[in-house]
Structures are given as C-alpha cells and as structure tokens.
C-alpha cells in the first residue's frame, strides 16, 4: 500500500512532520501529514494589514509570476507534480492516463492569456490594480477598488484542476489563501505551492499561500480558524459535504461562497435522428460529454433527453441510438476516458437489477466499462443522482417541455444539439435553474469567463470598497440645506 506524506505549507514555510496518518479512500493509499493543531497560531494571517505587499503589485507582475509558475509546472521536470500524480492514481476516480494529461496540461492554467482573460473578463484589471474613479450624478467623486481578502478555500478533489485553478484565481485577486485540501487530492495544491517556493520564496504571492490538510469537521482547527478575526471569506466546494461543517461558523463578518455540487445533462433535438449518419455523429459528441474524465466532473452529462418520441418507433430509435452511444463511449481515447477506476457498488447494483428487470428499462453494456440505460418511458431512472462510471440514462420524449421542466437548481451544464435548439431554449432553461448551456460535445471545455454555477465567484472573492469625496463648495453640507 503506497504511503505519502502531505506537507503543511504555511506562507512559504514547508512543514514535513508526519504527525498524523489519514486513511485514503478506496482502501487505496493512506497518507501522513503534520498536525495543523500544532500550528494554529501561524495558520491565520497575523493582521489584515499584511495584505499590503500583495496590493503593491501590479497586474503585470502577477501575470509574469504566474506565467513563470506555469512553465515550472512541467510534469516531466517537476517532482512535486509527479508525486501528486502518483498519489492521485491511488485516490482519484480518474484513470492514470487521464490524470497524466491533466497534470501535463496543468501549467497551461497559469498562462498569461488565461490569467489576463480571468482578471479582465470577470472583474476588470483597473479595479484590481487600483481605485477606479467615477463622477457621481449626485455630485462629488467616488472611487471603487476590488480588494483581496483573507480567504479559506475548501476545494474539491475529483479533478486536480480545481486546486490549480483556485490558486491562480486567488493570485489574480490578491487574496491571502488557505487551501483546505480534500482527502481525494491532498497533494496537487501543495505541489503548486512548493513550485512557487522553489521559484520565488519571498514573493508576496508565495507568501500568501498556505496549503493544509485536516479532517473536515475537526472543530479544534475550525473553531480557531473560522472567526471574523481571521477570515473574511470561505469558499466552499462540495455542498453539504463541506457546508455541514461550516454553517455553524457563519456569522456577520464571514462571507460564505458556496460552489455547490451540480449535475449536468443533455438535450438532443429531433434533427439528430434525421439520418443514421447524424445519429452516429451526435452519439459521438454526446459520448464526449458523458465519458470525458470518466464522468467524474459536474459538467459531465448523466441524463440525456432525446427527442425520438415515446411511441414504438421512437423507442426503437432510442434503443438504436443507445447502442451507437455506448460504442462511441467505448471508443473514446484512454487519455480522455476509460473503464471505471472506482466502481460505485450502489450504482452497479441498480444497473444489474435493471439489466434483468422487465418492462421499463433497456440496458446496453454494464459492468466497469460503463452502460447506457434507455428509459422506455419519458422519465429518468430513480437513481439518476448516482449515475457515474460512464453510465448514462437516455430519456426519450415527445415534447420539449419534458427536458425543460426537468431542469432544476442542481443542473449545471446542459449540452444541446443542434445549436439552433439551444438558442430556442436558453431563456427558459435559465429560468428553471440551468447555469451553463453549451454546444453538444464541449461540456468539458470551459470558457472561464466569470459566471460559474450561476454566480460570479471571482467578484465575490473580492472585497469591494468605495471611497466617496465631497467638497462643501460643490455639495453643500447637510446642515446647510
């Protein structure tokens, strides 16, 4: 059984004691780590004023720094990344091949163009670099600036990109960041941090990044940390899994930003079934949205609504499409998708049962390679929330009302075919709770423009401060009016 040590990184300082052992998931690997409770005093930022150094940087300094980090995050040359990769292989639901690609491309997330787009499109670089002035209709002048904050990020571990992206974003908004790593990816964030330390140990960005693992819910750590005295913002991925620990600390002075877990789906209009050729092509695109990254991410399609109709002929089409879809999923290249690494027994049981049950569901495939379940009624399976391991559920329908009204607050991405249908449905889907609409086949490709999960996380991570100036000669004092 592989053994790893997860370092505790406190603003440039690396602590490699192995005080505590944590069992990894899937009985796979376990890891040791330093006991945060021994370092509680150093964990929070001493005083908010210490954010000053970050705010003296210009955006270009930050972009240069990140660019350099990106270069150094080259998988082949970066031992930390390699270690993180090895650990992930034992804890992640992703196959080694997929993980490899992710780690090989991790550095790209720090590239200048990405960084610039993130800062510019979501917030506006001038607001980050300084005070932006405006003349007030009511008289007087106002300046606004987006300040960094003291933030704790409880990140998700199902894909390593989350760790990398969070760190990049945080540097852009000049916040002091404490990353609370998840047990399913305890090393990636640390790898990035150590790369920074090797590169520029005293750079403010390095000095404002801490990476810590503790068991979520450890009150000794959380009670000490989660108070307005130490933290302005808590960014929590993973919904209840993390919120349940946090909500009792929510109080005036702490701003909770939740990036809730989501599920994604697909809507395929009748055009797709015009010819056998289009059916195969569309199946190919749907397969990507489903199988990409082994369906581990929230943007992966799970339930696929198909406008085949529910009459006999419709069902025949649907079942044929299922076969095409299954084949296309199986045909995905190994660096994109592969057989289940961490099969979910509960799901497997359900699928097996449907496979032999009679009347309502047809199942193509099954077992670790994945499956396509075709509902023979216009409803998803009751265990839709469990879908994963490359198991998709095709739901035939007659009226577009069915997929529209099945969208809810937990729907993130909806892949749609054809694009014309997307234009037709987007407003209503949005009203029902969908947060991202995308051409079929591209669910896994994020434009990273700002909005995410229906909110603007980056803007929220900032503190927006206003400075108003009035002169009695232009705006009379209230006592004079």
């Amino acid at each position: 059984m592989a053994k790893f040590n997860v370092p505790l990184i406190l603003r440039g300082k690396v602590i490699e004691d192995a005080d505590i052992e944590f069992g990894g998931r899937r009985g796979g690997s376990s890891f040791t780590s330093a006991d945060v409770r021994e370092h509680l005093d150093e964990l929070p930022l001493s005083t908010p004023s210490a954010l000053r150094d970050l705010h003296q940087l210009k955006f270009d300094d930050i972009a240069d720094f990140l660019q350099e980090v990106g270069t150094r995050l080259s998988f082949r040359h970066n031992a930390y990344l390699q270690e993180a990769y090895e650990l992930s292989v034992t804890t992640s639901g992703l196959s080694p091949q997929i993980l490899k690609v992710i780690y090989e491309t991790l550095g790209q997330g720090f590239g200048r163009s990405v960084v610039h787009q993130t800062a510019d499109k979501s917030i506006g670089i001038p607001y980050l670099d300084g005070w932006v002035g405006m003349k007030l209709e009511t008289g007087g002048h106002a300046w606004t600036r987006a300040f960094g904050a003291r933030a704790v990020h409880i990140i998700a571990g199902n894909v390593p990109n989350v760790a990398a992206m969070s760190i990049m974003r945080n540097a852009v908004i000049r916040s002091d960041m404490i990353v609370k790593t998840p047990s399913n990816d305890p090393l990636t964030a640390a790898a990035v941090a150590r790369t920074m330390i090797d590169m520029a140990p005293d750079h403010p960005i390095t000095k404002h990044l801490s990476v810590v693992y503790w068991k979520g819910g450890d009150t000794r750590v959380e009670e000490a940390l989660y108070t307005p005295a130490h933290v302005d913002k808590i960014v929590a991925w993973g919904g209840l899994a993390s919120i349940t620990h946090i909500s009792k600390y929510i109080q005036p002075g702490i701003d909770l930003i939740t990036l809730d877990p989501k599920l994604s789906s697909t809507i395929i209009g009748k055009e797709a079934f015009a010819s056998d050729a289009t059916m195969r092509e569309v199946a190919g695109r749907a397969a990507v949205d489903i199988g990409h990254r082994n369906q581990e991410a929230c943007h992966n399609a799970r339930v696929v609504y198909i406008q085949t109709g529910t009459d006999k002929e419709g069902l025949t089409k649907a079942n044929r499409f299922a076969q095409y879809l299954y084949d296309s999923i199986q045909a995905l290249p190994p660096h994109i998708s592969g057989p289940a690494v961490a099969p979910d027994p509960a799901l497997a049981e359900e699928v097996d049962a449907l496979k032999m049950s009679i009347g309502y569901y047809e199942v193509v495939g099954g077992g670790p390679t994945g499956a396509v379940i075709v509902s023979q009624i216009d409803e998803p399976v009751d265990f839709a929330r469990l879908l994963g391991n490359r198991v998709a559920n095709l739901v035939p329908f007659d009226s577009l009302e069915t997929p529209i009204r099945s969208t809810n607050a937990y729907t993130q991405t909806i892949g749609i075919y054809p694009d014309s249908l997307r234009m037709e449905l987007r407003d209503r889907l949005a009203l029902h709770g969908a947060q991202r609409l995308v051409s079929l086949g591209y669910a896994g490709r994020f434009a990273n423009i700002g909005p995410h999960d229906g909110i603007e996380p980056l803007r929220r991570m900032c503190k927006w401060i206003v400075d108003e100036e009035y002169r009695p000669e232009s705006v009379a004092l209230a006592s004079m009016t």
Partner: protein, 480 residues
C-alpha cells in the same frame, strides 16, 4: 456430546420440504452432517430452478442471458443470484401516478403466482394496493423500511410465512448444551410484547401476523403492541418520492400530490403523540406483566426508548431473567448516548443482551444467532455464496474467503430464492466451529460495501442535494 445423526427419512422429507427444517431443534438442524445438508440443497435447488424458470420471467431472462438451461451443481446458481435492488426495479412514478395495475404487472415478473386476474383499479395508495393483494391473492408482500427512499417489494406467500414463524421461534433456542438450549419450554404461553407497530407489511408486523396465525392459532391476544396501528407504506415511501421529485425538477414537483403531503403531515402529527403512547404502553405492561416471563420484540431504538421510560419511572428488572428478547436490526443510524445494550438489559432484567443475529428480510427462513464464540452459522436451508465483489466471480467454496455475500433460501418456493447482498463477509468453509455446529462459518465482522467505499472527507463538485425530510428520517430510525 454425541450428535444425533439425521435419519434417512428426514433427509428425504427435507429434500421435498426444506421449509420443514424448523420442525427440528436447532441442535438437530446443525448436527446434520454438512455433506447431507449440501445434498438436500442441490436437490431442492435443481427442483426450484426447473419449476420457477418457466414461471418467473425475470429468472428466465437472467438464465437466458447467462446461458444457463439447468442446474447440475450448486456453483451454477451463483450467476443467478438477484441483486436485491431487483425488488425495487419499478419506476417510482408508478406510485405517484397510482398506476398499481402496472406495479402489479411488474411484480408479476418476479413471482410464480399468477397476478393477471387481480383487480387493483381504484386502490388508494400503496397501503390500498397491499390490502388488495392480501385479500385477492395468496401473496403477503413484505416491503422494506425504505431508508434509501424507495421501497422494495418481496412477493412472499402466506404458506411461506409458516416457516418464517417457526424459524422465528427457533431463533431463541440455543445449540447442544448452550444456556438457551431449552429456551422454548413453555414458549406458547408467553405474552409477546411488541415495541412498535402491529399492522403493516414491514418485517416486524408481517412476522407477528405469521406468528399469530401459525403459532398462536390466530389468537391476537397473544401479542400486544406499543402501537396497535399500521405503519403506512405510503408514508415510508415519501422520503424517496420527495427526493425523486426534486431530481425531476419542476416536473417532479408537479407530481407531488397534495394528498401525499397531507398524509405526511398526518403522520408527523401522529408521531407527536408517540411519547404518550409509549408511556401508556409502558404503564400497561408494568401493571400486567411485571415480574413475568415474556417475549419482547422490537428494534433496538424502540426497545431502548421503552427502557428509558423505565428509567424515568425508576424501575429496573421488570421481567424474569429468562425472558425472551428478539431485538433485531441495527441501530438504524440512531446514536445512543450510552451503551444501549446495558440499558435494555437493566430494564428487562437479563444478565446478557441476546446474541446478535444475522439475516435479511428477503430471507423467508434465515435469521440465526451467533454462537457463543461469536460466529454466525447459516441455517441448513440457506446455501451461502461468496462472490468477488469486483468481478462477480464465485469464490472457491473452501478455506477462508472474503467477498460479497449471496444466498439461496430453500424455504422460498414461489419466487427465486437466490439473492446477492451488499455485505462484505468472511467465511470459513471447511473448519467447523468449536461450538459444535456443523457446516461453514461466517465471521462476525460484516460490512456493507457502500460503507467501505464510503466518503471520507472527499469533496467533489459533482452531485445533487438530497431532499431531506427530518420528520421522515426520524421515522426511518424508529423502524425495525
């Protein structure tokens, strides 16, 4: 001590009527040489397959896909074990839309009993449907407590419940010269105190029905329950339906009928009266049965709550030390602030908390207690299987193996008795237990695979929020 060997006629009889096993004492059952037991098992297995493969469509489908035409060896049955979720493989929306005709049709694919003639039109709710089935067919459907949200329906028949009743009786009996060897002396005269609902189609009420019918000559007086009312299947299924409704977005919401919510409200109301009801029940049994030998039946949380009543009243040792207790099921996710076993013992007046048992509600005749050495011994009417939980391949039936536990219950006659559990079990096949019982041994540490794979501070961005309904969660905890 010398074991009574089973006379040949018994072997033949059991080959024809394995459901008669409980006619034998526990000592007798476990003393039959295991070779003999396995002979009986194979005989019955063949017969069951040959008859049911033509009458149970799902079995036929499975057998076909596995290309199995006949059973020549116990091994052959391994690929034919049903995952237990097969008994809830219906779309939940059937309940929502009250399509009980379709639900019946679905159930029909799982049993040899012909349901084509049954008229379930106009059934109100699942409860209505269950009543209809009770009155129109020989089925006595048993459903799960639906802690997962969706109820499973097992098509048991009235005839099959005879073995259930007798098996329950035997479950109090010890082996050989173990302390409880003579526990059944005077059994028929003992008053049964049921802590929980008397009516309904859950395991406990159904078992009480069976006991009253087969053991007590339909004398309902033999059982008094803390709640003489009915545990409604509709209420139990609510949690699951609300969850499913939420998954389905607005469509789902539109499906949640006001009637449904009304029912929930009514039930929650009723639950409010639970403490008083329990108190009344307690006062009653104290007054009538204090100091007597009785049979106490209930889930740990239920019995524990009763014990707390006793503590409030400052009473201990309410019954005789040889009182029989059947406290099945786990803690149902309920966390006890102290050792509940001690509390319960003090209240009843037992030195020892009854040994834990192992069994599943899908079994007709299967629940047996640990031996004094803490091992579990599958009853002779159960054919145990261990499968590799990843590949599903049958593990060798020898040595000590760990895998996913499956079983075939010979006592089940009208539906396929083979089931695959979600439990990880370690079995030793060929070293009989020092307790003297013949046959393979199941080690006591048993875990559900879902727990083992379970989330450990893992944070992911993929998933949806559970519709959680505190009232219903509470109920789920109360049920055995």
């Amino acid at each position: 001590m010398d074991k009574p060997t089973a006379p040949q006629r018994d072997v033949d009889l059991l080959g024809r009527h394995p459901e008669r096993y409980p006619d034998l004492t526990v000592t007798q059952q476990y003393s039959i040489p295991y070779e003999t037991v396995m002979d009986i098992q194979l005989t019955v297995l063949k017969k069951r397959f040959d008859t049911l493969v033509h009458k149970v469509p799902v079995l036929a489908k499975l057998a076909e896909s596995q290309r199995i035409g006949a059973i020549n060896d116990i091994h052959d049955a391994a690929p034919l074990l049903f995952p237990h979720s097969i008994y809830k493989s219906y779309p939940l929306s059937l309940l929502e839309k009250s399509r009980f005709d379709l639900l019946t049709k679905w159930l029909g694919t799982l049993t040899s009993v012909d349901l084509s003639a049954v008229d379930v039109s106009g059934c109100v709710g699942i409860d209505g449907w269950l009543d209809a089935m009770d009155s129109q067919t020989e089925l006595r459907i048993k459903h799960s407590s639906g802690t997962t949200g969706k109820l499973s329906f097992v098509p048991r028949t009235l005839a099959e419940t005879e073995a259930t009743a007798k098996g329950w009786r035997r479950s109090f009996e010890g082996f050989g010269d173990e302390p409880h060897a003579n526990a059944l002396a005077g059994f028929e005269d003992l008053q049964v105190l049921l802590v929980g609902y008397r009516k309904g189609a859950l395991a406990y009420p159904r078992m009480m029905d069976a006991a009253v019918h087969w053991l007590y000559g339909d004398d309902e007086g033999k059982v008094i329950a803390s709640n003489p009312g009915r545990m409604s299947a509709d209420v139990l299924s609510l949690g699951g339906r609300l969850k499913a409704a939420q998954d389905k977005g607005e469509l789902g919401q539109l499906q949640v009928s006001p009637a449904l919510l009304a029912r929930r409200a009514a039930f929650v109301e009723e639950q409010k009266a639970a403490p008083q009801r329990l108190k009344a029940f307690f006062d009653d049994i104290v007054q009538r049965y204090r100091g007597r030998r009785v049979i106490i039946v209930g889930s740990p949380p239920a019995v524990y709550d009763l014990a707390i009543e006793a503590r409030k009243a400052g009473l201990t040792d309410l019954f005789t030390p040889d009182t029989l207790a059947s406290i099945g099921g786990g803690a149902k996710g309920r966390v006890f602030e102290e050792d509940y076993k001690k509390v319960i013992c003090r209240f009843i007046g037992m030195e020892e908390y009854p040994l834990d048992g192992f069994g599943m509600s899908e079994m007709c005749l299967g629940s047996s207690r640990m031996c004094l050495l803490g091992n579990i011994h599958p009853l002779p009417n159960l054919i145990p299987f261990l499968l590799d939980h990843k590949t599903g391949v049958l593990l060798p039936r020898e040595g000590t193996q760990t895998g996913r536990y499956g079983w075939f219950d010979l006592a089940i006659q009208t539906h396929w008795g083979g089931l695959l559990s979600g439990d990880r079990v370690t079995m030793t096949w060929d070293e009989p237990c020092a307790c003297g019982r013949a046959g393979p041994v199941i080690h006591s540490e048993i875990r559900r695979f879902t727990e083992i794979e379970g989330n450990d501070d893992k944070i992911t961005c993929a998933g949806a929020m559970d519709a959680h309904d505190k009232a219903l969660e509470f109920i789920a905890r109360q049920l055995g």
